[in-house]
């Protein structure tokens, strides 16, 4: 079986520049998006990948070809684009970013009116436009507008939701690692405006990203070293499009991306207001502990930002997100936003007058394994059958792949939207137990 690196799916279009991701594909995809959205203004942002410029010209051309008016927003984090699309009432947005993928990759992420990702049905309709090639082409193309100050709108929205006075008083020393990504031009200044003393590392691209852009503990060693070197109170790491956030404590130890969301949610519920919490099905049980203790409801949705954010808006939840470090506060906007995450966690430091390691210790500890295995469609079925027959006694949820809960552990097996793999997540209190469960599954595959 030959698995192409090109992925055209409900998540957009993604591939490797110079191989599968050609200007023609990007052009057609932009024409499909423009035909789907209709005439009107569409914000176009990019991360710092050097291929972004080449792709941007195709995106502009494709949008103009079907009657849209592109707004060139330059390098901009994806949550800032989402906030902009919402506040300026644009028809939609396109972000040219492959977020946490390596530098040779690139992708288009598509945003609809209101600043949200497309849901399943909308994405299917868009793909129909793409595959049928029936674009609503015009012969008069419009103009391209420019917008250089869109981050400010995002920043001001966040600053209105946090107590910057309290943070200023404490003036925590923060090391920030934006991985040379879309946050790089803005994040130091942003942290200073929040009231922190900020030192920025890895703020530029040289021969690619300064580190693997996925903010996992194994990729942020330099951040840990810097926290130690400068005696900082906290370290933050973002991915290339700045939707995900990882935290390093004052002892230079990564707390794990699942605990980013846990800290933000616990703070929100303790110091700001009570609200139901929405997370995805792959999120740690620590969220159950927190919400139980605070006496609020916890709702789990399918994986994917749009699923979590729609549910939050539906039930009026203010706080939630995804366990991979994606914090959502609907007071700013119903999207994963590392900037909102940083604001909440810094506010937590200030309000609690405790250190990050202390705050982390107040939360129960779970061990989590996240693995991915290559799997074609036929493999997927076999894996599902294997899992269900093996773990019959547990509580089964088939909303998104299969999640099975036992008192001591849970596991979640689901096909990825972005890669031809199955994701396997197992979490429990005992490291030994989850390791043995994983090796049992792996043996059978």
């Amino acid at each position: 079986m030959r698995i192409s690196d090109l992925k055209i799916s409900i998540s957009g279009i993604r591939g490797i520049v110079g191989q599968s991701l050609t200007p023609q594909l990007i052009l057609k995809f932009s024409e499909a998006f423009s035909s789907f959205i209709g005439e009107g203004e569409i914000g176009v942002a990019q991360d710092t990948r050097p291929s972004g410029n080449m792709l941007k010209y195709s995106v502009f051309s494709g949008l103009l070809s079907c009657g849209a008016t592109p707004i060139d927003m330059g390098i901009l984090p994806i949550p800032s684009l989402q906030v902009y699309v919402k506040s300026k009432k644009l028809k939609g947005g396109i972000s040219i970013t492959a977020s946490h993928n390596p530098v040779e990759w690139n992708a288009l992420k598509l945003i609809k009116k209101g600043g949200f990702f497309l849901n399943l049905y909308e994405a299917e309709e868009l793909l129909d436009y793409y595959y049928q090639g029936k674009f609503k082409r015009v012969h008069k193309s419009g103009i391209i507008k420019k917008e250089a100050h869109s981050f400010r709108i995002h920043e001001n929205k966040i600053l209105r939701t946090v107590n910057t006075q309290a943070i200023k008083k404490k003036r925590p020393k923060v090391i920030i690692d934006p991985c040379g990504g879309a946050a790089s031009p803005y994040v130091k200044n942003y942290l200073e405006n929040l009231g922190a003393e900020a030192i920025c590392i890895n703020d530029q691209l040289s021969d690619g990203f300064p580190r693997n852009p996925e903010p996992l503990p194994e990729n942020i060693e330099k951040l840990c070293e810097s926290v130690k070197k400068y005696g900082a109170d906290i370290g933050f790491a973002q991915d290339a499009d700045a939707d995900r956030l990882a935290v390093v404590d004052e002892k230079a130890k990564p707390i794990g991306e699942e605990y980013t969301l846990a800290l933000a949610v616990k703070h929100y519920l303790s110091y700001k207001q009570k609200s139901p919490v929405v997370v995805n099905l792959s999120t740690s049980r620590v969220m159950e502990d927190i919400t139980k203790k605070m006496g609020v409801k916890l709702i789990k949705t399918k994986v994917g930002e749009i699923n979590v954010s729609s549910k939050m808006l539906e039930i009026g939840a203010k706080i939630g997100g995804e366990g991979n470090g994606g914090i959502i506060n609907t007071e700013v906007h119903a999207c994963r936003d590392s900037f909102t995450g940083m604001a909440l966690i810094l506010e937590y430091l200030a309000c609690s007058d405790k250190s990050i390691s202390q705050l982390r210790q107040e939360l129960p500890t779970y061990k989590m394994i996240k693995k991915k295995v290559k799997a074609s469609f036929s493999d997927r079925k076999r894996i599902f059958n294997l899992i269900t027959s093996k773990f019959k006694q547990g509580q089964v949820n088939t909303e998104d792949g299969i999640r099975i809960d036992y008192p001591e552990f849970w596991l979640h097996v689901r096909p990825s939207n972005t890669e031809p793999v199955m994701r396997i997540i197992i979490e429990g209190k005992e490291e030994k137990l989850i390791n043995s469960i994983y090796s049992e599954i792996k043996e059978r595959l």
């Binding site: 490797i16 110079g18 191989q19 050609t22 200007p23 291929s51 080449m54 012969h139 391209i144």
Partner: protein
């Protein structure tokens, strides 16, 4: 028929979006940049409503193939050709359909010297296009994209050196310009200042649609004629959308045929050139002017590609066509309306004569240009039949069928840019050309 794309060395041309669209532009730019040597490609576009989007997708493709890209934005095609000729670039691409009306557009491909591709180079690019055999540079080798401003002062300097600059300046002509809201519009002011002209400009709003058909001709001259009269201008002129063609209006407010442009340029260059290349479809005024100025005339196929490449092969500095096109190789390899205009102003200044006086010795000829729409499937069959019908008159087959008769001549040929038969009849009197027109119309069986 309306939806078809016309692919030739005169450009990849069609109505937007049904025949020509961003996807096709993108693929052609990929094919062309895969064909060219590595380096930098220079791009420009005219002011058509579809030109921006077609240029953007082309730029993206050029960058993706690993060639750097310098984008001049809105710029007349001859300026880009001038620039390529004087600098070291891999090639050029212009999004412009020159004289075609508005829903049309075209992608023009230029070589490293600024020439149109020749009859062997063009098909190479088309083959790469068909095969989809595109260069793909990896992420760290993508071409850089740079927006740039055309160095118009260098263009003006070069232009001033081939004419009698001081005489033109001294004459202080008053002229009426109608650039048809095309790409030359913003350059008319600095041009006029440089040559000391008082210029009244109509239709110079590049954001607006064409004020009339962008083909310089007597039929489109009425606005300029009125303004020349009202303002007592010494000369009026009309340009097409990318500034490659020009037709004139005399000081009496009378529109002149676009066929007059080339002979006037030849007279202006008297003594400086020995040969001229023109086409089998251009007026016999060319022969008259050549005789007056001791030139050898070489006639070739219609189109900038065949004329300019014949100029190279025959070592002829001058060349042009009856469409109002003129090129002078020591200046640039492109058909250039401002070049033609400057040569004609030079002639007026040196002779101290008015335009009507300059053209008074020209032989009086009447001509008729006819377009007949023929579907692309039938067009060559129709030509075949005509060949048979005219074979006894010993026709010239250089381009279509040209027949010379005692008091008139005519040519019937398929257009390079549209799905039409172009017919031109020229003669000494109205009667002889009318009878030929009737005869041809009878003989064409569609």
């Amino acid at each position: 028929m309306e939806d078809r794309l016309r692919i030739s060395i005169s450009g990849i041309r069609g109505k937007v979006p049904q025949a020509l669209n961003v996807e096709i532009a993108s693929k052609f730019a990929s094919a062309f940049s895969s064909y060219l040597e590595k380096g930098t490609m220079a791009l420009c576009r005219d002011c058509r409503e579809s030109s921006r989007m077609l240029a953007l997708s082309s730029i993206s493709s050029v960058s993706a193939s690993g060639l750097d890209c310098i984008d001049f934005g809105r710029l007349p095609t001859p300026f880009l050709q001038f620039f390529l000729n004087k600098n070291n670039y891999s090639g050029g691409l212009s999004v412009s359909a020159g004289h075609n009306p508005s829903p049309w557009n075209a992608i023009l491909l230029l070589d490293s010297e600024g020439f149109y591709l020749d009859a062997s180079e063009g098909p190479e690019v088309f083959n790469i296009y068909e095969a989809g055999w595109f260069e793909k540079a990896p992420w760290d080798k993508l071409g850089k994209i740079k927006e740039s401003v055309f160095p118009f002062h260098l263009y003006l300097e070069a232009l001033s050196k081939i004419v009698h600059f001081k005489e033109i300046k001294k004459a202080g002509f008053k002229i009426t310009a109608d650039p048809c809201n095309g790409a030359v519009s913003p350059f008319l002011k600095p041009y006029s200042q440089f040559f000391g002209l008082k210029t009244i400009t109509l239709n110079d709003e590049t954001d607006k649609p064409f004020s009339h058909s962008p083909e310089p001709s007597i039929e489109n001259s009425s606005q300029a004629e009125a303004v020349v009269k009202a303002t007592d201008s010494d000369l009026g002129f009309l340009l097409n959308s990318d500034g490659s063609r020009i037709s004139l209006v005399s000081e009496k407010g009378k529109g002149l045929s676009e066929e007059m442009t080339l002979p006037l340029c030849l007279i202006s260059l008297k003594g400086k050139i020995k040969k001229v290349v023109s086409t089998v479809a251009s007026s016999s005024l060319v022969d008259w002017a050549a005789k007056e100025t001791n030139l050898k005339v070489i006639r070739t196929k219609v189109g900038q590609s065949s004329v300019t490449h014949t100029m190279l092969a025959e070592e002829s500095k001058a060349g042009g066509e009856g469409s109002g096109s003129f090129a002078f190789l020591p200046f640039s390899p492109g058909y250039d309306s401002l070049l033609a205009l400057t040569l004609i102003l030079d002639l007026m200044a040196r002779k101290g004569k008015k335009m009507s006086e300059i053209i008074s010795p020209f032989p009086l000829l009447v001509r008729k240009k006819i377009k007949i729409g023929v579907s692309p499937i039938k067009i060559y069959r129709v030509m075949d039949q005509l060949e048979e019908k005219y074979s006894k008159e010993n026709p010239d087959y250089t381009d279509g069928i040209r027949v010379n008769r005692k008091n008139a001549w005519f040519i019937i040929r398929p257009s390079l840019t549209e799905f039409i038969l172009r017919i031109m009849i020229e003669g000494k009197d109205q009667k002889s050309i009318s009878s030929i027109e009737e005869e041809i119309k009878e003989r064409i069986e569609i």
